[in-house]
């Protein structure tokens, strides 16, 4: 196995040092390290972060290989600085059995660009009627710990309660897609002044907040841990903050697009901006940033959601929900959190690596860059700016809402257990 010596790199923004990656682990940190026969990477001006961990990725395989495959999705992940992703369960067939999660897990191993941790469905076929065999998925080779019906809400309160209780047996967590279905029938965009003007059916904040409030109470009642996917409203941040203050074991994620974009984008009627939950107001984005800064929101997760061109090249109501996110996540976090002074690089490591790994119970990722730790490292240049070009994406799909937008930073290299998956900004 090759050895890499990264010269003069700034770990989490600290004073530059040398970093030696050998035998899959961090073999040395210090000045003027010797690395006999090591490949030398000039780290001048670069930040070293622990390999990023995404708790919310749609890889679309099996079933929608026209949109994304495990191979292409994990390429995009590596280019974005991720060394581990959690593959959501809303595939076809749904990842609701040990067989499907093992298939996804194996595809991830074969691809080799980053580690793939399948998420198991909470209910059979995401139908919200009957618990899937959560224990079988937990005991499978994929060792599933995160369960979610993402795309749909586990809205039946009894079923949600049982799921929260049941996963305690194997230290699992239920990741809820908080969306009250009756309040969001045919919903197209954030309900507010703009939805009324544009004549698009509204997706009210209360439909998210009501479920989060209920689930926090349920988790408190049964003493389980709860994870809330893609928090998008100021009210949700407030509810999670209150629950945490009461000692409820709840964690929450925010998506890059909700940190950066607002519902104003819908005025173009271009469904490239159609996503679920929808883009909210500037005040909501502001509250998300504040929540992420103060730790109310534990992590940033991408909700990378590839869709084929025809599902976006149409009228708004006919289009699919979702947008790409893996290759732009770190840049958007820099733009919205670091360059604004809300987070330092240690805070970024916590929100995009340590915390998501903890929530997902992923042992080999999300560890500080220290002697002996697994060599999962991303080298990032925060000083450059780039214009996003959708055609350059490694994803099979092109539905990035950031095309043509100038964003800061660039992932220069990603190391997975000491082996580069990305060097010089290109896949190895």
């Amino acid at each position: 196995m090759s050895t890499y010596l990264i010269r003069n790199v700034s770990i989490l923004g600290a004073e530059p040092t040398d970093l030696l990656l050998a035998d899959g682990v961090v073999a040395g940190i210090g000045s003027a390290l010797e690395g006999d026969g090591a490949e030398v990477v000039d780290g001048t001006g670069l930040i070293a972060l622990p390999g990023l961990v995404d708790l919310h990725t749609h890889l679309r395989e099996p079933g929608r290989e026209d949109a994304e495959t495990v191979e292409t999705g994990t390429r995009a992940a590596a280019l974005g600085g991720f060394t581990a992703v959690h593959a959501m369960a809303n595939t076809d067939p749904v990842a609701d059995t040990a067989g499907v999660v093992e298939q996804v897990w194996r595809l991830g191993r074969e691809a080799g660009h980053c580690d793939v941790y399948p998420v198991g469905a909470v209910t059979v076929g995401l139908q919200g009627e009957k618990l899937a065999e959560l224990g079988a998925m937990a005991d499978s080779a994929a060792r599933v710990r995160v369960f979610s019906d993402d795309g749909k809400c586990v809205h039946d309160p009894v079923l949600m309660r049982r799921a929260l209780e049941y996963v305690k047996a194997f230290d699992g967590v239920v990741a809820q897609h908080a969306q009250e279905p009756r309040l969001t029938e045919n919903a197209q965009m954030n309900e507010g002044e703009l939805s009324g003007r544009l004549g698009l059916a509204g997706w009210p904040a209360v439909a998210e907040e009501a479920i989060i409030a209920r689930d926090c109470l349920l988790a408190e009642h049964v003493g389980s841990r709860l994870h809330v996917c893609h928090v998008s409203t100021a009210g949700s941040v407030r509810i999670v903050r209150d629950a945490k203050a009461r000692g409820v074991d709840v964690t929450a994620e925010a998506c890059p697009h909700h940190l950066l974009l607002t519902d104003e984008r819908a005025t173009t009627y271009d469904p490239i901006f159609k996503v679920n939950p929808p883009l909210r107001t500037a005040a909501d984005a502001e509250a998300l940033r504040a929540g992420l800064a103060d730790g109310t929101i534990d992590i940033v997760a991408t909700d990378h959601a590839p869709h084929p061109h025809e599902d976006k090249d149409c009228e708004w109501a006919a289009a699919a929900f979702g947008m790409l996110g893996l290759e732009t996540a770190l840049s958007i976090v820099q733009e919205t959190m670091v360059d604004t002074g809300l987070l330092d690089w240690a805070g970024v490591a916590e929100r995009l690596s340590y915390a998501p790994a903890r929530i997902g119970r992923v042992a080999d990722h999300g560890q500080p860059i220290e002697q002996g730790a697994p060599a999962n490292v991303v080298l990032y240049d925060p000083s450059v700016r780039r214009v996003v070009d959708a055609t350059e994406s490694a994803s099979l799909s092109r539905n990035t809402p950031y095309a043509g937008m100038e964003l800061p930073g660039r992932v220069v290299a990603t190391f997975l257990r000491g082996r580069p998956t990305v060097l010089d900004g290109k896949l190895v």
Partner: protein, 318 residues
């Protein structure tokens, strides 16, 4: 004027008044034995209707034909929402046929905007009603009708217009709220709270839940169609309760000022939002609205398709 007519909100007061003045000239044609002008000879107008709307389609068809345009009616019922041919493919087909203007009616809000801005077609796009968004030519014909009856010195300044009914789902209400305000009228929307959209307080209009309080001050009352099915959505308890609180009947009509007119974009649900005696009364201008609709649509097609008059920039940039 813009190259497209997508939203009543895109029209400046000058644009709107140019259309209305042009419509007034063209309307006189309706009284002649030969109702045809050669203005758009050789031009092709496509009526692209993804929703059934016979009255709007024949109004546009009559308008285009009276200007000597070639008319293609393309009824694409069963929109891409039901996985038929996509809007894009339909648009590319029309482009290949050489359409100069596409008049589109679609169930999805924003579909005309997409058609105009996606690069699929190069023709002018006229919104003939999109989802619950807008119906700008309906607003223009309503304004034209108001102009003829209430217009003092050509304007609607200070005139009070009440628009009553299902504002939430009404593209007519949205377009009228924008256009009538541009023309200087004072618009009051009247509906039960469940049938107002969120954020209506930011619109340039007054709102009221109380029809009886609004009627005596109105110079015109525009009743909107209320579909009985809305009751199943829980927007109001029963059709009868709706009619009692928000329907225009003979008793309420008696509280109107002498000059006040009653309008309805059609199709009416008689007995629901309007009673037969009101619809058929001499205050009602509902049938005249239809005649005016043809004139206004002639004006729109004429101005969009290069019948430029001095001072306008039809065919120009957006």
């Amino acid at each position: 004027m813009n190259r497209h007519l997508l939203s009543a909100g895109d029209l400046t007061r000058d644009d709107a008044e140019l259309i209305l003045r042009t419509a007034a000239e063209l309307r006189s044609l309706a009284d002649r034995p030969i109702k045809k002008l050669p203005a758009l000879r050789g031009r092709t107008v496509v009526n692209l209707f993804f929703e059934d709307s016979t009255r709007t389609r024949i109004s546009f068809e009559a308008a285009a034909k009276r200007l000597s345009a070639d008319v293609i009616n393309f009824s694409a019922k069963g929109s891409s929402l039901s996985k038929g041919e996509s809007l894009k493919d339909t648009a590319l087909t029309l482009e290949a046929m050489g359409a100069d203007a596409v008049v589109i009616r679609h169930g999805a809000s924003g579909a005309p905007y997409r058609l105009a801005h996606s690069g699929w077609v190069h023709s002018s796009v006229v919104n003939a009603g999109d989802g619950t968004h807008e119906h700008p030519t309906q607003a223009l014909l309503d304004a034209f009708t108001l102009w003829r009856h209430l217009g003092v010195g050509g304007g609607l300044d200070g005139r009070r217009i009440a628009i009553v009914g299902d504002v939430l789902h009404s593209r007519v209400a949205r377009s009228n709220a924008l256009l009538l305000r541009t023309l200087g009228a004072e618009v009051t929307l009247v509906a039960p709270p469940t049938l107002f959209p969120v954020g209506v307080d930011t619109w340039p209009v007054e709102t009221s839940y109380d029809l009886d309080a609004v009627l005596p001050k109105a110079d015109a009352v525009m009743m909107l169609r209320v579909q009985r099915e809305r009751m199943n959505g829980g927007f109001f308890p029963t059709a009868r309760e709706y009619s009692r609180r928000y329907g225009l009947d003979g008793r309420r009509m008696a509280t109107l000022q002498d000059h006040t007119i009653v309008m309805h974009p059609g199709p009416m649900v008689r007995g629901m939002e309007i009673t037969a005696d009101v619809a058929d009364s001499n205050r009602s201008v509902i049938v005249e609205q239809v005649t005016n609709g043809v004139a206004v649509r002639m004006a729109v097609l004429y101005l969009l398709l290069g019948g430029a008059t001095p001072g306008s920039s039809a065919g120009g940039d957006e």
